[in-house]
């Protein structure tokens, strides 16, 4: 069907705003029914109007040996209303209000660079590539706050196998969606878009590196980086790029957005490290999101507590220099 000019479209064919909103309400209601099994407290969050616009699907998961134990997950409400996602505004609550504009279907992820051949994966294919695991991870933001999030996904190394990288591939670059129509806030933020992040190949291969599709038993809400993102629990949150559209295997260290913007504040590695301060604040402590204000302060752990799994990748490296 040819794409017609707007004036050619009879007004009878245009969905009215109220119909569109009704449709959304219907979908939200359907989603709410679908997740009723998740528990009453969570249902209340999903049914509240703020979340209702981000209709999500329930996901089946298997347990994971990489899941963090002995921690209490942050509430769904906080995880979905306190976000840094500058494509949808710089305020913490902006993404939850604005990310409904993000169209996550159809969605595909392109794979390029030092690979046997270029590939493109549909989101459905990605989600079926490997059994989805529930992994509870600590999440530490460079701004000195932290959460505990029950993510859903599988080790990124499983995906790398499907990409068939060449031996010349030494780094992986993650590129997020840049779409002025869905993310008009991009224009008001002085960063070099699209958002780009990167890892050394061994970091990308580490089993903790999670190719992530959901949280709290359901697909990712838009504001949390739908439909697919990367999660790196031992690094500051900004390393975990959201809404990925392209993954490149490259020879040299790729450009990374925050590092480019302020290289003295955000290093390429950005491993969680209480001994290396951000130039503007200490990283020794973090504010636990959802905790009462008089007991929100808790000490930050080296590698965010994942040293056993990741420290060996950095032996012999000066972590003060390579922050």
């Amino acid at each position: 069907m040819p794409i017609r000019k707007p004036s050619d479209i009879p007004s009878s064919e245009i969905t009215t705003k109220s119909d569109y909103m009704d449709r959304r309400k219907f979908m939200a209601a359907a989603a709410a029914v679908g997740v009723a099994a998740l528990g009453a407290d969570r249902l209340e969050n999903i049914a509240s109007p703020r979340e209702a616009v981000h209709a999500t699907e329930k996901l089946a998961t298997v347990p994971s040996k990489y899941s963090t134990t002995g921690v209490t997950p942050t509430s769904f409400e906080d995880i979905t209303t306190y976000n840094n996602f500058y494509e949808f505004g710089t305020g913490k609550a902006d993404p939850s209000r604005n990310a409904w504009r993000l169209k996550t279907s159809p969605w595909s992820v392109k794979v390029e660079g030092e690979v046997k051949s270029k590939k493109e994966f549909d989101i459905d294919a990605l989600m079926k590539m490997h059994p989805l695991e529930e992994r509870v991870y600590r999440h530490r933001c460079v701004e000195a706050w932290s959460m505990v999030i029950p993510w859903i996904g599988y080790s990124f190394s499983e995906f790398i196998k499907q990409c068939e990288p060449l031996s010349s591939a030494r780094y992986v670059q993650f590129i997020s969606l840049e779409n002025m129509k869905e993310e008009p806030w991009i224009a008001s933020v002085n960063l070099d878009w699209p958002y780009s992040e990167g890892l050394r190949m061994d970091e990308a291969m580490n089993p903790l590196t999670l190719f992530t599709f959901g949280l709290y038993g359901q697909t990712l809400p838009n504001q949390d980086g739908a439909p697919v993102r990367i999660v790196l629990p031992w690094k500051y949150g900004f390393k975990s790029a959201k809404s990925l559209v392209k993954i490149r295997f490259v020879k040299r260290q790729p450009r990374t957005t925050w590092n480019e913007s302020a290289p003295n504040e955000y290093g390429f590695y950005s491993n969680v490290n209480p001994n290396v301060d951000h130039p503007r604040w200490s990283q020794k402590y973090e504010r636990v999101i959802g905790a009462p204000f008089w007991k929100a302060r808790q000490p930050t752990l080296m590698f965010n507590g994942y040293g056993d799994q990741v420290a060996s990748m950095y032996t012999g490296m000066n972590l003060r220099k390579n922050f």
């Binding site: 008001s188 002085n190 504010r287 009462p292």
Partner: protein
């Protein structure tokens, strides 16, 4: 404006200035300070310090617009003291909630982090202003010296705005609004004093 009306108005303005604190206390009790309550408290007290500083700095230029607005000056001290009050709360969040009363950590911060140094400079100015805000201080210092000292209000406001710019991330431009307001207020003073100089010269020539 009659004295009685002025007193009545003060009884309205004073509680109005307490509203931002009231909102925080209410949110604290109803557990609605948001996911990051420490940040909510810090931001609210910081913003209201800046707002009260700017409002108190706006009094002089505004009252110069008309001789009927002279009574506004009677509110300047109260508003300035509220700026100091919210700055004190702001500093308390830093000392308590951010630093856990760790003096060593704070000493390290003040020396090392420019935005904290700037914030402390602003607070030191406000402290000096608050400490000399009584009629007794004016008498003791003498009007001229007191006026000179109270020009620190400009330094405090400028330090506050710079403090704000230095804490936001590169690429974020949210402090531009308070910056423009402060610039306009400072400019209004410059324009007025230039006009005043000109007027005095004319008077001198005419004489």
């Amino acid at each position: 404006m009659s004295r009685r009306l002025l007193v009545a108005l003060k009884f309205v303005v004073f509680p109005a200035c307490m509203v931002p604190l009231g909102v925080l206390v209410y949110q604290g009790f109803t557990n609605t300070l948001g996911p990051d309550p420490v940040a909510t408290i810090t931001h609210a007290t910081g913003f209201w310090t800046l707002y009260f500083l700017l409002i108190s700095l706006a009094i002089t230029p505004v009252r110069r617009l008309s001789s009927r607005l002279v009574w506004l000056i009677r509110f300047r001290r109260m508003l300035g003291l509220f700026a100091f009050f919210y700055a004190t709360l702001h500093l308390t969040t830093y000392v308590w909630l951010f630093s856990g009363f760790d003096a060593h950590e704070m000493a390290h911060d003040i020396g090392k982090r420019p935005f904290i140094t700037m914030g402390m400079l602003g607070y030191a100015c406000l402290f000096a202003l608050a400490a000399t805000s009584t009629a007794w201080s004016i008498r003791k210092l003498g009007g001229r010296r007191w006026t000179m000292l109270h020009r620190l209000a400009y330094v405090a406001a400028a330090a506050g705005v710079i403090h704000y710019w230095w804490i936001v991330k590169t690429g974020v431009r949210t402090p531009w609004k308070v910056t423009v307001v402060l610039a306009v207020l400072l400019l209004a003073r410059a324009v007025w004093s230039a006009k005043e100089t000109l007027r005095k010269r004319k008077v001198a020539v005419a004489a």
